[in-house]
């Protein structure tokens, strides 16, 4: 059972010697850095073309990624806005203590009192609602116009709406109730009403909502990873033959992996952009009702949109998720192929 090789003709030795000399001139060198840059440029071009040339599947994937990212992003922005309402500082803060002044107090005196109070460190802001403004507000509430007409005159007092600085109050060792009681001792003040309970409840709800958002963001982040991973896996299946051929020609695993990684990054990045567009339009849709609600709580609250920091964070995270998904998909394929070849 032996294999025999027979040398049939002897080769031309002189030709071989001249050939050896000629071989030396065959090698063309490219510096490793230039080669690396050229390979990346080709990968970027190739991966972008692949997305561009398959618009339907690209948009489908981007839409899934965008929807998955828009939900936690939208929730995060809503929570951020609500937090600013419930926080101690900031322009959006709602009043929490109402000082009802005595009926004898004039509008000018009420204004002076309001300005005096606003200078106190425990008070973030003090806003005067005159009895005329109050009755005008009442008239806009359905049914009250008729009631006020039967009463005749204006029975309402001037009110100073106070937003306390809770941290300063806490530092001075007081409670909010104690502070409110001290305000009752001020001259011209007839009655004090603390309206803090809803803020405390809102904060408790926000704490829960923040955690829920974190869980949703994690789950949907994993979804993005899987969607990109699966899309890249399908693309690899479609390019199996091509991958095998370029491996025969001498392509490294890095070379094979690179365009797919860029593809994953593009999916994540453009999916992120699309999700920002969705969030932006969703916020526009709720701006008006939120402002109406804020006015009912005597707040100047205006919903804030997607800031540049959130935008950058989202795009970076989504691109990273895309990269990770692609990395897993290509890595798995190359690992399986390597096992097959080493068998």
């Amino acid at each position: 059972m032996s294999k025999k090789n027979t040398q049939k003709n002897s080769s031309n030795k002189r030709t071989q010697k001249t050939n050896k000399k000629k071989q030396k001139n065959q090698v063309t060198t490219t510096t490793p850095l230039t080669a690396w840059i050229n390979q990346h440029r080709n990968s970027i071009k190739f991966s972008s073309q692949r997305l561009w040339l398959n618009p339907f599947s690209t948009w489908m994937t981007l839409a899934v990624i965008a929807l998955a990212l828009a939900l936690p992003t939208g929730l995060h922005i809503l929570l951020k806005n609500l937090s600013s309402v419930a926080s101690n500082d900031g322009e959006n803060r709602a009043s929490t203590i109402s000082l009802f002044l005595k009926p004898s107090v004039t509008a000018q005196r009420a204004l002076d009192r309001s300005e005096l109070l606003s200078e106190r460190s425990e008070i973030s802001s003090a806003k005067l609602i005159t009895k005329d403004q109050a009755i005008e507000n009442f008239k806009h509430i359905q049914g009250f116009k008729e009631i006020l007409a039967t009463i005749g005159g204006n029975p309402l007092p001037h009110v100073i709406a106070i937003s306390p600085d809770l941290s300063v109050i806490a530092e001075s060792g007081q409670t909010i109730e104690g502070f409110a009681k001290s305000l009752k001792n001020e001259s011209d003040v007839d009655n004090v009403q603390i309206d803090l309970e809803w803020v405390q409840r809102l904060r408790a709800i926000l704490n829960i909502a923040e955690r829920v958002t974190l869980v949703i963001a994690t789950l949907l982040g994993i979804t993005v990873l899987l969607v990109v991973g699966n899309t890249i896996r399908l693309n690899i299946s479609g390019k199996k033959r091509e991958i095998e051929i370029i491996q025969l020609i001498g392509a490294t695993n890095h070379y094979i992996r690179r365009p797919f990684l860029y593809e994953g990054v593009w999916y994540g990045f453009f999916g992120g952009i699309l999700s920002l567009v969705i969030v932006h339009f969703s916020l526009l849709f709720i701006v008006a009702p939120v402002e109406t609600l804020a006015k009912l709580y005597d707040s100047e609250f205006v919903i804030s949109g997607v800031g540049i920091i959130i935008m950058l964070k989202l795009l970076f995270s989504s691109a990273l998720l895309g990269l990770a998904g692609a990395w897993i998909a290509v890595g798995r394929h190359l690992q399986q192929q390597s096992k097959r070849m080493n068998r």
């Binding site: 049939k8 080769s11 050939n19 050229n38 370029i246 020609i249």
Partner: protein, 215 residues
């Protein structure tokens, strides 16, 4: 330059493709490898290209043992080999030019250099005027020549051809063999597996005959 020392290859299926093969090819030599079907011609070429591993024995290329190549070194080793298959393994969704340029892109060569070298390779195989076409629009002979152009575009030191004229008519087969001879004239080592005895005789080069192993 290429040396086989007591090389055997047994596939996982139990099939013994090569047994105790010893051979030597000098640099710049053009050699034919012949034998009956199943004699192990393709296996021998695949062993040189490191597409398969020997079960026993050593293969030395340029004095270095192939077995010692790590997985990371294999791609760069393969870039020095131009492998031509009976089915030229072309990418039908890419143009003739892009198929031929593939090894240069893998090597990270600049666009200008790719343009220049690919056109030169296509000119050598007389396909410059068909560079923008899809390989699907070419005849069998032209497809084979695209495969040859791709194999030589990176200026490999070794060309391995597995039945490159298997599907071609005698005239085309002769043309392709002459193309190999031209590359050999430029200093490239050429090893061609073929069972076309008439053509081998005509080329008047050294011939290695492989005998089928009785399993």
């Amino acid at each position: 330059m290429i040396e086989f020392k007591r090389v055997s290859k047994k596939y996982p299926t139990g099939q013994l493709a090569l047994y105790n093969v010893n051979l030597r090819l000098d640099a710049g030599e053009m050699v034919f490898l012949t034998g009956v079907s199943g004699a192990g011609k393709s296996t021998l070429l695949k062993l040189i290209a490191r597409l398969e591993r020997p079960s026993e024995g050593h293969i030395l290329i340029g004095g270095k043992t192939l077995k010692l190549l790590s997985d990371q070194q294999i791609p760069s080793y393969r870039r020095n080999i131009g492998f031509i298959y009976q089915d030229p393994h072309l990418l039908d969704d890419q143009s003739v030019f892009d198929n031929v340029a593939l090894p240069l892109k893998i090597a990270g060569i600049s666009d200008d250099e790719i343009q220049h070298r690919t056109q030169a390779a296509l000119e050598k195989v007389d396909l410059k005027n068909k560079s923008t076409r899809s390989p699907q629009m070419l005849s069998a002979g032209e497809r084979q020549r695209v495969g040859i152009a791709r194999a030589v575009v990176n200026k490999p030191t070794i060309i391995l051809a597995d039945e490159p004229t298997g599907n071609l008519d005698p005239k085309l087969a002769e043309d392709i063999m002459n193309t190999f001879a031209q590359f050999n004239e430029l200093g490239t080592t050429v090893l061609i597996a073929s069972h076309d005895h008439a053509l081998i005789e005509q080329m008047n080069k050294r011939t290695i005959v492989l005998q089928k192993v009785e399993n």
